[in-house]
Protein backbone atom coordinates (compact mmCIF):
# COMPACT_ATOMS: atom_id res chain seq x y z
CA UNK A 1 0.00 0.00 0.00
CA UNK A 2 2.83 2.29 0.99
CA UNK A 3 4.60 1.63 -2.30
CA UNK A 4 1.47 1.96 -4.42
CA UNK A 5 0.88 5.29 -2.84
CA UNK A 6 3.95 6.73 -4.63
CA UNK A 7 2.92 5.37 -8.02
CA UNK A 8 1.86 8.13 -10.46
CA UNK A 9 -1.83 7.95 -11.33
CA UNK A 10 -2.56 5.62 -14.23
CA UNK A 11 0.87 3.98 -14.07
CA UNK A 12 -0.04 1.03 -11.81
CA UNK A 13 1.44 -2.19 -13.11
CA UNK A 14 -1.63 -4.20 -13.94
CA UNK A 15 -2.22 -7.34 -16.05
CA UNK A 16 -2.75 -5.05 -19.01
CA UNK A 17 0.62 -3.30 -18.56
CA UNK A 18 2.40 -6.61 -18.05
CA UNK A 19 0.89 -7.94 -21.26
CA UNK A 20 2.14 -4.98 -23.28
CA UNK A 21 5.42 -6.14 -24.79
CA UNK A 22 7.70 -3.25 -23.95
CA UNK A 23 5.78 -0.94 -21.61
CA UNK A 24 7.44 -1.64 -18.23
CA UNK A 25 10.78 -0.78 -19.85
CA UNK A 26 9.89 2.90 -19.78
CA UNK A 27 9.37 3.04 -16.01
CA UNK A 28 12.22 4.70 -14.13
CA UNK A 29 13.61 2.59 -11.25
CA UNK A 30 11.71 4.85 -8.83
CA UNK A 31 8.44 4.40 -10.73
CA UNK A 32 9.02 0.65 -10.87
CA UNK A 33 9.63 0.57 -7.09
CA UNK A 34 6.45 2.49 -6.45
CA UNK A 35 4.26 0.80 -9.03
CA UNK A 36 5.28 -2.86 -8.60
CA UNK A 37 3.56 -2.79 -5.16
CA UNK A 38 0.67 -5.23 -5.52
CA UNK A 39 1.20 -6.04 -9.16
CA UNK A 40 0.36 -9.54 -10.37
CA UNK A 41 4.06 -9.94 -11.32
CA UNK A 42 4.29 -13.68 -10.50
CA UNK A 43 1.61 -14.48 -13.10
CA UNK A 44 3.68 -12.84 -15.81
CA UNK A 45 7.21 -13.53 -14.57
CA UNK A 46 8.33 -15.70 -17.49
CA UNK A 47 7.29 -12.93 -19.91
CA UNK A 48 8.43 -10.06 -17.68
CA UNK A 49 12.02 -11.37 -17.46
CA UNK A 50 12.42 -11.17 -21.23
CA UNK A 51 12.21 -7.36 -21.20
CA UNK A 52 15.66 -5.79 -21.59
CA UNK A 53 15.65 -3.96 -18.24
CA UNK A 54 18.58 -1.84 -17.12
CA UNK A 55 20.67 -2.90 -14.11
CA UNK A 56 19.00 -0.31 -11.77
CA UNK A 57 15.57 -1.57 -12.89
CA UNK A 58 16.67 -5.18 -12.25
CA UNK A 59 17.88 -4.17 -8.77
CA UNK A 60 14.41 -2.81 -7.98
CA UNK A 61 12.75 -6.01 -9.17
CA UNK A 62 15.13 -8.14 -7.07
CA UNK A 63 14.36 -5.98 -4.02
CA UNK A 64 10.63 -6.33 -4.72
CA UNK A 65 10.87 -10.13 -4.92
CA UNK A 66 12.94 -10.26 -1.72
CA UNK A 67 10.31 -8.26 0.17
CA UNK A 68 7.55 -10.39 -1.24
CA UNK A 69 9.22 -13.67 -0.24
CA UNK A 70 11.19 -13.11 2.96
CA UNK A 71 11.28 -16.87 3.68
CA UNK A 72 12.69 -17.96 0.32
CA UNK A 73 11.44 -18.00 -3.24
CA UNK A 74 8.78 -20.47 -4.31
CA UNK A 75 9.40 -22.90 -7.18
CA UNK A 76 7.68 -20.81 -9.88
CA UNK A 77 9.94 -17.85 -9.07
CA UNK A 78 13.17 -19.87 -8.79
CA UNK A 79 12.69 -21.46 -12.18
CA UNK A 80 11.72 -18.23 -13.95
CA UNK A 81 14.34 -15.76 -12.76
CA UNK A 82 15.84 -15.17 -16.19
CA UNK A 83 18.10 -12.12 -16.38
CA UNK A 84 17.32 -11.27 -12.72
CA UNK A 85 19.69 -14.10 -11.89
CA UNK A 86 22.67 -11.88 -12.60
CA UNK A 87 21.61 -9.84 -9.56
CA UNK A 88 22.17 -12.75 -7.16
CA UNK A 89 25.42 -14.00 -5.60
CA UNK A 90 26.59 -17.62 -5.15
CA UNK A 91 26.22 -17.07 -1.39
CA UNK A 92 22.54 -16.20 -1.79
CA UNK A 93 21.98 -19.23 -4.02
CA UNK A 94 23.63 -21.53 -1.47
CA UNK A 95 20.70 -20.82 0.87
CA UNK A 96 17.94 -21.52 -1.64
CA UNK A 97 15.71 -24.52 -1.39
CA UNK A 98 16.86 -26.33 -4.54
CA UNK A 99 15.27 -29.51 -3.31
CA UNK A 100 14.16 -31.21 -6.51
CA UNK A 101 15.79 -32.27 -9.73
CA UNK A 102 13.10 -30.44 -11.70
CA UNK A 103 14.02 -27.24 -9.95
CA UNK A 104 17.74 -27.71 -10.65
CA UNK A 105 16.86 -28.49 -14.27
CA UNK A 106 14.70 -25.36 -14.56
CA UNK A 107 17.33 -23.23 -12.83
CA UNK A 108 20.20 -24.34 -15.10
CA UNK A 109 18.05 -23.83 -18.19
CA UNK A 110 17.25 -20.22 -17.33
CA UNK A 111 18.05 -17.91 -20.24
CA UNK A 112 20.57 -16.36 -20.36
CA UNK A 113 22.25 -19.35 -18.76
CA UNK A 114 23.65 -18.93 -15.23
CA UNK A 115 27.35 -18.13 -14.92
CA UNK A 116 29.70 -20.91 -13.76
CA UNK A 117 29.85 -19.58 -10.21
CA UNK A 118 26.04 -19.39 -9.90
CA UNK A 119 25.57 -22.81 -11.52
CA UNK A 120 28.24 -24.31 -9.26
CA UNK A 121 26.51 -22.86 -6.19
CA UNK A 122 23.19 -24.32 -7.36
CA UNK A 123 24.65 -27.79 -8.08
CA UNK A 124 26.45 -27.87 -4.73
CA UNK A 125 23.29 -26.79 -2.94
CA UNK A 126 21.23 -29.43 -4.76
CA UNK A 127 23.68 -32.17 -3.73
CA UNK A 128 24.08 -30.77 -0.23
CA UNK A 129 20.34 -31.26 0.23
CA UNK A 130 20.88 -34.98 -0.37
CA UNK A 131 19.78 -35.19 -4.01
CA UNK A 132 21.41 -37.58 -6.47
CA UNK A 133 23.09 -36.93 -9.80
CA UNK A 134 20.55 -38.94 -11.78
CA UNK A 135 19.96 -38.69 -15.53
CA UNK A 136 17.76 -35.60 -15.24
CA UNK A 137 20.26 -33.82 -13.02
CA UNK A 138 23.23 -34.75 -15.19
CA UNK A 139 21.25 -33.89 -18.32
CA UNK A 140 20.53 -30.47 -16.82
CA UNK A 141 24.18 -29.98 -15.88
CA UNK A 142 25.12 -31.05 -19.41
CA UNK A 143 28.31 -30.22 -21.24
CA UNK A 144 28.10 -26.58 -20.19
CA UNK A 145 28.54 -27.26 -16.49
CA UNK A 146 29.94 -30.80 -16.26
CA UNK A 147 33.47 -29.49 -15.69
CA UNK A 148 32.28 -27.81 -12.48
CA UNK A 149 31.69 -31.18 -10.80
CA UNK A 150 34.40 -32.20 -8.35
CA UNK A 151 35.90 -35.68 -8.05
CA UNK A 152 33.54 -36.71 -5.23
CA UNK A 153 30.49 -35.60 -7.20
CA UNK A 154 31.75 -37.37 -10.34
CA UNK A 155 32.41 -40.59 -8.44
CA UNK A 156 28.81 -40.49 -7.24
CA UNK A 157 27.51 -40.88 -10.80
CA UNK A 158 26.01 -44.31 -11.39
CA UNK A 159 27.51 -45.36 -14.81
CA UNK A 160 24.22 -46.38 -16.54
CA UNK A 161 23.11 -42.74 -16.10
CA UNK A 162 25.59 -41.82 -18.86
CA UNK A 163 23.50 -43.81 -21.33
CA UNK A 164 20.72 -41.30 -20.92
CA UNK A 165 22.66 -38.06 -21.24
CA UNK A 166 24.79 -36.42 -23.87
CA UNK A 167 27.99 -34.97 -22.42
CA UNK A 168 31.21 -33.66 -23.90
CA UNK A 169 33.84 -33.32 -21.17
CA UNK A 170 36.63 -32.37 -23.60
CA UNK A 171 37.06 -28.94 -21.98
CA UNK A 172 37.35 -30.39 -18.46
CA UNK A 173 40.41 -31.11 -16.32
CA UNK A 174 42.33 -34.34 -16.99
CA UNK A 175 41.09 -35.78 -13.70
CA UNK A 176 37.47 -35.18 -14.71
CA UNK A 177 38.06 -36.72 -18.14
CA UNK A 178 39.71 -39.80 -16.58
CA UNK A 179 36.86 -40.41 -14.15
CA UNK A 180 34.15 -39.88 -16.78
CA UNK A 181 35.94 -42.13 -19.30
CA UNK A 182 35.95 -45.03 -16.85
CA UNK A 183 32.28 -44.43 -16.06
CA UNK A 184 31.40 -44.22 -19.75
CA UNK A 185 33.40 -47.35 -20.59
CA UNK A 186 31.42 -49.24 -17.98
CA UNK A 187 28.15 -47.70 -19.14
CA UNK A 188 28.62 -48.66 -22.80
CA UNK A 189 30.36 -52.01 -22.25
CA UNK A 190 27.18 -53.85 -23.24
CA UNK A 191 27.20 -52.23 -26.69
CA UNK A 192 28.23 -55.06 -29.03
CA UNK A 193 28.35 -53.17 -32.32
CA UNK A 194 31.64 -51.37 -32.61
CA UNK A 195 30.79 -48.24 -34.63
CA UNK A 196 27.99 -47.58 -32.16
CA UNK A 197 30.27 -48.16 -29.15
CA UNK A 198 32.86 -45.85 -30.68
CA UNK A 199 30.32 -43.07 -31.27
CA UNK A 200 29.14 -43.37 -27.69
CA UNK A 201 32.59 -43.40 -26.08
CA UNK A 202 33.99 -40.75 -28.47
CA UNK A 203 33.28 -37.68 -26.29
CA UNK A 204 35.03 -39.37 -23.35
CA UNK A 205 38.18 -40.58 -25.17
CA UNK A 206 40.26 -37.74 -23.72
CA UNK A 207 40.44 -39.88 -20.58
CA UNK A 208 41.28 -43.20 -22.26
CA UNK A 209 44.50 -45.04 -21.28
CA UNK A 210 46.92 -46.47 -23.87
CA UNK A 211 45.69 -50.04 -23.45
CA UNK A 212 42.16 -49.05 -24.53
CA UNK A 213 43.45 -47.07 -27.52
CA UNK A 214 45.44 -50.13 -28.61
CA UNK A 215 42.23 -52.17 -28.59
CA UNK A 216 40.39 -49.50 -30.61
CA UNK A 217 43.24 -49.40 -33.15
CA UNK A 218 42.25 -52.88 -34.28
CA UNK A 219 38.64 -51.91 -34.92
CA UNK A 220 38.66 -49.67 -38.01
CA UNK A 221 37.22 -46.65 -36.22
CA UNK A 222 38.64 -43.93 -38.56
CA UNK A 223 39.34 -41.57 -35.68
CA UNK A 224 39.49 -37.88 -36.62
CA UNK A 225 42.91 -36.30 -36.22
CA UNK A 226 41.25 -33.55 -34.20
CA UNK A 227 40.18 -36.24 -31.73
CA UNK A 228 43.59 -37.92 -31.81
CA UNK A 229 45.41 -34.74 -30.77
CA UNK A 230 43.17 -34.38 -27.72
CA UNK A 231 43.95 -37.87 -26.38
CA UNK A 232 45.96 -38.21 -23.18
CA UNK A 233 49.63 -37.61 -23.94
CA UNK A 234 50.70 -40.57 -21.80
CA UNK A 235 48.23 -42.74 -23.71
CA UNK A 236 49.47 -41.71 -27.16
CA UNK A 237 53.21 -42.08 -26.55
CA UNK A 238 53.24 -45.91 -26.20
CA UNK A 239 51.32 -46.40 -29.50
CA UNK A 240 53.24 -47.86 -32.44
CA UNK A 241 52.93 -46.34 -35.94
CA UNK A 242 50.78 -49.33 -36.96
CA UNK A 243 48.46 -48.70 -34.05
CA UNK A 244 48.14 -45.03 -34.94
CA UNK A 245 47.39 -46.07 -38.51
CA UNK A 246 44.74 -48.45 -37.21
CA UNK A 247 43.18 -45.70 -35.11
CA UNK A 248 43.11 -43.01 -37.82
CA UNK A 249 42.26 -45.21 -40.84
CA UNK A 250 41.18 -42.99 -43.77
CA UNK A 251 42.13 -39.93 -41.76
CA UNK A 252 45.81 -40.94 -41.45
CA UNK A 253 47.09 -38.59 -44.23
CA UNK A 254 45.88 -35.60 -42.19
CA UNK A 255 48.42 -36.47 -39.49
CA UNK A 256 51.13 -34.88 -41.66
CA UNK A 257 49.54 -31.44 -41.14
CA UNK A 258 49.83 -31.89 -37.37
CA UNK A 259 53.33 -33.34 -37.25
CA UNK A 260 54.96 -30.22 -35.83
CA UNK A 261 52.43 -29.82 -33.04
CA UNK A 262 52.14 -31.61 -29.72
CA UNK A 263 51.42 -34.38 -28.98
CA UNK A 264 52.04 -35.62 -32.54
CA UNK A 265 55.57 -34.16 -32.57
CA UNK A 266 56.42 -35.76 -29.22
CA UNK A 267 55.12 -39.09 -30.50
CA UNK A 268 57.04 -38.89 -33.79
CA UNK A 269 60.43 -38.36 -32.12
CA UNK A 270 59.95 -41.59 -30.18
CA UNK A 271 59.33 -43.69 -33.33
CA UNK A 272 61.77 -45.35 -35.71
CA UNK A 273 61.81 -43.31 -38.94
CA UNK A 274 61.71 -46.57 -40.94
CA UNK A 275 58.41 -47.45 -39.27
CA UNK A 276 57.01 -43.96 -39.92
CA UNK A 277 58.01 -44.23 -43.58
CA UNK A 278 55.85 -47.33 -43.91
CA UNK A 279 52.80 -45.13 -43.28
CA UNK A 280 53.53 -43.18 -46.53
CA UNK A 281 52.12 -39.91 -45.25
CA UNK A 282 55.38 -37.95 -45.05
CA UNK A 283 56.07 -37.97 -41.31
CA UNK A 284 59.63 -36.91 -40.53
CA UNK A 285 61.72 -36.53 -37.39
CA UNK A 286 61.72 -40.15 -36.18
CA UNK A 287 64.79 -41.96 -34.87
CA UNK A 288 67.15 -42.94 -37.71
CA UNK A 289 68.46 -46.51 -37.92
CA UNK A 290 71.48 -47.06 -35.69
CA UNK A 291 70.38 -44.45 -33.14
CA UNK A 292 68.63 -45.01 -29.86
CA UNK A 293 66.89 -42.56 -27.58
CA UNK A 294 68.51 -42.20 -24.21
CA UNK A 295 66.33 -40.86 -21.42
CA UNK A 296 68.52 -38.89 -19.03
CA UNK A 297 68.04 -39.99 -15.42
CA UNK A 298 66.69 -37.21 -13.22
CA UNK A 299 68.52 -36.72 -9.92
CA UNK A 300 67.11 -34.76 -7.02
CA UNK A 301 68.57 -31.25 -6.83
CA UNK A 302 71.49 -30.90 -4.44
CA UNK A 303 70.64 -28.90 -1.37
Amino acid sequence: KRESAGCPAGQEITDEVLNDDAMPLYYTPEELRACLGNSPLENHLSQFVTYPFTIPQLAVIKEHLKERYPNGYPENVLSNLGPFLTMFTPEEISTWNLSSVDLLDAFLKIQPQPSDSLASAAINRYMELGNALNATALGAIGTKYVCLLNATQLEAIHPPVLKMVSLDPSACSQETKNILYQKAKEAFSDQNHLPAYYELILPYLGGAPAADLKVLSKKDVNMNVTTFVTLRRDAVMPLTPREVQGLLGVNLPELARWQFQTPVRDWIVLQQQAELDKLHVGLTGGVQEGYINLVSPKFPALS
Binding site: S166, H193, V250
Partner: protein
Protein backbone atom coordinates in the same frame (compact mmCIF):
# COMPACT_ATOMS: atom_id res chain seq x y z
CA UNK B 1 12.72 -44.77 -40.70
CA UNK B 2 9.66 -42.57 -40.23
CA UNK B 3 10.76 -40.95 -37.00
CA UNK B 4 12.71 -37.73 -36.50
CA UNK B 5 16.08 -38.59 -34.91
CA UNK B 6 18.91 -36.46 -33.62
CA UNK B 7 22.27 -36.91 -35.34
CA UNK B 8 23.66 -38.79 -32.32
CA UNK B 9 20.70 -41.15 -32.29
CA UNK B 10 20.88 -41.76 -36.03
CA UNK B 11 24.60 -42.56 -35.70
CA UNK B 12 23.60 -45.69 -33.83
CA UNK B 13 21.84 -47.04 -36.92
CA UNK B 14 25.00 -46.85 -38.98
CA UNK B 15 26.60 -49.66 -37.01
CA UNK B 16 24.70 -52.52 -38.60
CA UNK B 17 21.39 -51.53 -40.08
CA UNK B 18 22.51 -48.97 -42.66
CA UNK B 19 25.50 -50.86 -44.01
CA UNK B 20 23.25 -53.87 -44.58
CA UNK B 21 20.60 -51.85 -46.46
CA UNK B 22 20.83 -52.70 -50.18
CA UNK B 23 18.96 -49.57 -51.30
CA UNK B 24 20.06 -46.41 -49.48
CA UNK B 25 17.28 -44.39 -51.07
CA UNK B 26 14.82 -46.24 -48.85
CA UNK B 27 16.39 -44.56 -45.83
CA UNK B 28 15.02 -41.30 -44.51
CA UNK B 29 16.90 -38.02 -44.31
CA UNK B 30 16.78 -38.31 -40.53
CA UNK B 31 18.50 -41.72 -40.53
CA UNK B 32 21.09 -40.77 -43.17
CA UNK B 33 22.27 -37.74 -41.18
CA UNK B 34 23.80 -40.24 -38.72
CA UNK B 35 26.66 -41.13 -41.08
CA UNK B 36 29.82 -41.68 -39.08
CA UNK B 37 33.42 -42.17 -40.08
CA UNK B 38 33.58 -45.22 -37.81
CA UNK B 39 30.93 -46.87 -39.98
CA UNK B 40 32.45 -45.67 -43.26
CA UNK B 41 34.87 -48.59 -43.59
CA UNK B 42 32.03 -51.04 -43.21
CA UNK B 43 30.06 -49.26 -45.95
CA UNK B 44 33.09 -49.35 -48.30
CA UNK B 45 34.33 -46.93 -50.95
CA UNK B 46 31.93 -47.81 -53.80
CA UNK B 47 28.82 -47.91 -51.71
CA UNK B 48 29.93 -44.64 -50.08
CA UNK B 49 29.52 -42.95 -53.48
CA UNK B 50 26.03 -44.40 -53.74
CA UNK B 51 25.28 -43.26 -50.21
CA UNK B 52 26.58 -39.74 -50.85
CA UNK B 53 24.41 -39.37 -53.98
CA UNK B 54 21.34 -40.41 -52.05
CA UNK B 55 22.29 -37.87 -49.37
CA UNK B 56 22.25 -35.11 -51.99
CA UNK B 57 18.82 -36.17 -53.28
CA UNK B 58 17.43 -36.25 -49.76
CA UNK B 59 19.12 -32.94 -48.82
CA UNK B 60 20.81 -34.52 -45.80
CA UNK B 61 22.69 -32.00 -43.66
CA UNK B 62 26.07 -33.22 -42.42
CA UNK B 63 28.65 -31.69 -40.09
CA UNK B 64 32.29 -30.89 -40.85
CA UNK B 65 33.75 -34.22 -39.70
CA UNK B 66 31.07 -36.22 -41.49
CA UNK B 67 31.57 -34.34 -44.76
CA UNK B 68 35.33 -34.53 -44.62
CA UNK B 69 35.18 -38.30 -44.00
CA UNK B 70 32.51 -38.87 -46.66
CA UNK B 71 34.68 -36.99 -49.15
CA UNK B 72 37.67 -39.22 -48.33
CA UNK B 73 35.56 -42.30 -48.97
CA UNK B 74 34.06 -40.89 -52.18
CA UNK B 75 37.47 -39.89 -53.57
CA UNK B 76 39.35 -43.00 -52.43
CA UNK B 77 39.88 -44.07 -56.07
CA UNK B 78 40.15 -40.55 -57.50
CA UNK B 79 37.86 -37.55 -57.82
CA UNK B 80 34.55 -38.43 -59.52
CA UNK B 81 33.66 -36.55 -62.72
CA UNK B 82 30.07 -36.00 -61.64
CA UNK B 83 30.63 -33.95 -58.50
CA UNK B 84 27.29 -32.19 -59.04
CA UNK B 85 25.58 -35.45 -58.09
CA UNK B 86 27.16 -35.34 -54.64
CA UNK B 87 26.17 -33.19 -51.65
CA UNK B 88 26.95 -29.53 -52.39
CA UNK B 89 28.65 -29.14 -49.00
CA UNK B 90 31.40 -31.58 -50.06
CA UNK B 91 32.68 -28.85 -52.39
CA UNK B 92 33.71 -26.83 -49.34
CA UNK B 93 36.60 -29.26 -48.94
CA UNK B 94 37.65 -29.14 -52.61
CA UNK B 95 39.17 -26.58 -54.96
CA UNK B 96 38.18 -25.50 -58.50
CA UNK B 97 40.92 -27.77 -59.93
CA UNK B 98 39.27 -30.81 -58.29
CA UNK B 99 36.03 -29.73 -59.98
CA UNK B 100 37.61 -29.26 -63.43
CA UNK B 101 36.20 -32.52 -64.82
CA UNK B 102 32.70 -31.52 -63.69
CA UNK B 103 32.59 -27.84 -64.63
CA UNK B 104 34.38 -24.50 -64.67
CA UNK B 105 35.41 -22.42 -61.69
CA UNK B 106 32.39 -20.07 -61.79
CA UNK B 107 30.03 -23.06 -61.65
CA UNK B 108 32.13 -24.36 -58.76
CA UNK B 109 31.75 -21.12 -56.82
CA UNK B 110 28.05 -20.73 -57.63
CA UNK B 111 27.64 -24.07 -55.85
CA UNK B 112 30.07 -23.23 -53.05
CA UNK B 113 28.31 -19.91 -52.41
CA UNK B 114 25.03 -21.79 -51.89
CA UNK B 115 26.61 -24.45 -49.69
CA UNK B 116 26.40 -24.29 -45.92
CA UNK B 117 29.49 -22.23 -45.02
CA UNK B 118 28.75 -22.66 -41.31
CA UNK B 119 30.14 -26.17 -41.66
CA UNK B 120 33.62 -24.63 -41.72
CA UNK B 121 34.56 -22.85 -38.50
CA UNK B 122 35.52 -19.19 -38.78
CA UNK B 123 39.23 -19.97 -38.34
CA UNK B 124 39.31 -22.87 -40.85
CA UNK B 125 42.04 -22.22 -43.47
CA UNK B 126 39.72 -23.60 -46.20
CA UNK B 127 37.46 -20.55 -45.86
CA UNK B 128 40.16 -18.05 -46.71
CA UNK B 129 41.50 -20.29 -49.47
CA UNK B 130 38.05 -20.61 -51.07
CA UNK B 131 37.51 -16.85 -50.89
CA UNK B 132 40.86 -16.06 -52.53
CA UNK B 133 40.19 -18.57 -55.29
CA UNK B 134 36.67 -17.22 -55.77
CA UNK B 135 37.91 -13.62 -56.17
CA UNK B 136 40.44 -14.84 -58.70
CA UNK B 137 37.86 -16.92 -60.57
CA UNK B 138 35.32 -14.06 -60.71
CA UNK B 139 38.12 -11.76 -61.89
CA UNK B 140 37.56 -9.18 -59.20
CA UNK B 141 40.74 -7.12 -59.48
CA UNK B 142 40.23 -4.44 -56.83
CA UNK B 143 38.12 -4.37 -53.72
CA UNK B 144 34.81 -3.39 -55.30
CA UNK B 145 32.23 -6.16 -55.57
CA UNK B 146 28.97 -5.67 -57.45
CA UNK B 147 25.61 -7.18 -56.51
CA UNK B 148 25.84 -10.02 -59.06
CA UNK B 149 29.22 -11.17 -57.77
CA UNK B 150 28.06 -10.75 -54.18
CA UNK B 151 25.21 -13.10 -55.00
CA UNK B 152 27.62 -15.70 -56.44
CA UNK B 153 29.90 -15.43 -53.41
CA UNK B 154 26.96 -16.12 -51.07
CA UNK B 155 28.23 -16.94 -47.58
CA UNK B 156 31.83 -16.22 -48.66
CA UNK B 157 31.10 -12.47 -48.32
CA UNK B 158 31.16 -13.01 -44.55
CA UNK B 159 34.94 -13.39 -44.78
CA UNK B 160 35.57 -10.28 -46.90
CA UNK B 161 37.88 -7.73 -45.35
CA UNK B 162 36.84 -4.21 -44.31
CA UNK B 163 38.27 -2.70 -47.52
CA UNK B 164 35.85 -4.75 -49.64
CA UNK B 165 32.91 -3.72 -47.45
CA UNK B 166 33.82 -0.04 -47.69
CA UNK B 167 34.51 -0.05 -51.46
CA UNK B 168 31.39 -2.03 -52.35
CA UNK B 169 29.03 0.39 -50.65
CA UNK B 170 25.57 -1.06 -50.13
CA UNK B 171 25.88 -3.97 -52.56
CA UNK B 172 27.16 -6.39 -49.90
CA UNK B 173 24.75 -5.44 -47.10
CA UNK B 174 21.98 -7.90 -48.02
CA UNK B 175 24.42 -10.83 -48.05
CA UNK B 176 26.30 -9.57 -44.99
CA UNK B 177 23.08 -9.48 -42.98
CA UNK B 178 22.98 -13.28 -43.28
CA UNK B 179 26.35 -13.72 -41.53
CA UNK B 180 26.12 -14.69 -37.88
CA UNK B 181 29.06 -12.65 -36.62
CA UNK B 182 31.73 -10.19 -37.74
CA UNK B 183 35.27 -9.21 -36.93
CA UNK B 184 35.60 -5.77 -35.23
CA UNK B 185 37.06 -4.15 -38.36
CA UNK B 186 34.22 -5.58 -40.49
CA UNK B 187 31.71 -4.14 -38.00
CA UNK B 188 33.30 -0.74 -38.25
CA UNK B 189 33.20 -0.84 -42.05
CA UNK B 190 29.52 -1.85 -42.02
CA UNK B 191 28.75 1.05 -39.66
CA UNK B 192 30.59 3.48 -41.94
CA UNK B 193 28.70 2.27 -45.01
CA UNK B 194 25.33 2.44 -43.23
CA UNK B 195 25.87 5.84 -41.65
CA UNK B 196 27.07 7.31 -44.96
CA UNK B 197 23.47 6.97 -46.15
CA UNK B 198 24.67 6.00 -49.64
CA UNK B 199 22.77 2.72 -49.61
CA UNK B 200 19.31 1.69 -50.73
CA UNK B 201 18.28 2.04 -47.09
CA UNK B 202 19.11 5.75 -47.03
CA UNK B 203 20.46 7.60 -43.97
CA UNK B 204 19.60 6.14 -40.53
CA UNK B 205 17.43 9.22 -39.79
CA UNK B 206 15.09 8.07 -42.56
CA UNK B 207 14.86 4.42 -41.51
CA UNK B 208 11.52 2.83 -40.68
CA UNK B 209 10.67 -0.28 -38.67
CA UNK B 210 10.62 -2.11 -42.01
CA UNK B 211 14.20 -1.01 -42.75
CA UNK B 212 15.25 -2.32 -39.35
CA UNK B 213 13.59 -5.65 -39.98
CA UNK B 214 15.39 -5.90 -43.32
CA UNK B 215 18.69 -5.10 -41.60
CA UNK B 216 17.96 -7.32 -38.61
CA UNK B 217 21.15 -9.39 -39.09
CA UNK B 218 23.19 -6.19 -38.85
CA UNK B 219 21.37 -4.62 -35.86
CA UNK B 220 23.92 -5.81 -33.25
CA UNK B 221 26.63 -4.03 -35.26
CA UNK B 222 24.94 -0.63 -35.44
CA UNK B 223 26.32 1.01 -32.29
CA UNK B 224 24.99 4.00 -30.36
CA UNK B 225 25.82 6.68 -32.93
CA UNK B 226 23.62 5.07 -35.59
CA UNK B 227 20.94 3.98 -33.11
CA UNK B 228 20.55 7.58 -31.91
CA UNK B 229 19.86 8.76 -35.45
CA UNK B 230 17.04 6.26 -36.06
CA UNK B 231 13.61 7.82 -35.45
CA UNK B 232 12.40 6.74 -32.01
CA UNK B 233 9.05 5.58 -33.38
CA UNK B 234 10.75 3.28 -35.90
CA UNK B 235 12.99 1.82 -33.21
CA UNK B 236 10.26 1.23 -30.65
CA UNK B 237 7.92 -0.28 -33.23
CA UNK B 238 10.70 -2.60 -34.33
CA UNK B 239 11.58 -3.39 -30.72
CA UNK B 240 7.99 -4.35 -29.96
CA UNK B 241 7.42 -6.42 -33.08
CA UNK B 242 10.76 -8.05 -33.69
CA UNK B 243 12.74 -8.07 -30.47
CA UNK B 244 10.16 -10.35 -28.90
CA UNK B 245 11.34 -13.49 -30.64
CA UNK B 246 14.72 -12.15 -31.67
CA UNK B 247 17.87 -14.18 -31.14
CA UNK B 248 19.67 -11.07 -29.82
CA UNK B 249 21.04 -11.28 -26.31
CA UNK B 250 19.86 -8.95 -23.54
CA UNK B 251 23.06 -6.91 -23.86
CA UNK B 252 22.59 -6.51 -27.60
CA UNK B 253 18.95 -5.51 -27.14
Amino acid sequence: NNKPWSREQAAMFFSDVVKAEPDFSRLSQSVLQGFTCAAASAVGAERSQELAKVMRKKKVKLGQDQLSCLLKMVTLHGIPKDLDSYPQDLLLFLSPSDYAATGNCSQFFINVGKANGDVLPREAPQRQQLLLEALECLRIPGTQINKENAEVLGWLVCDLGEEYIRSSGGSLLKDLSQCGSFLPEQEEAIRDVLSSGNTTFGPPAAWSAFTLSELSGLIPVLGPSILQQIPKKALTTWLRNFAWDSSLSREEL
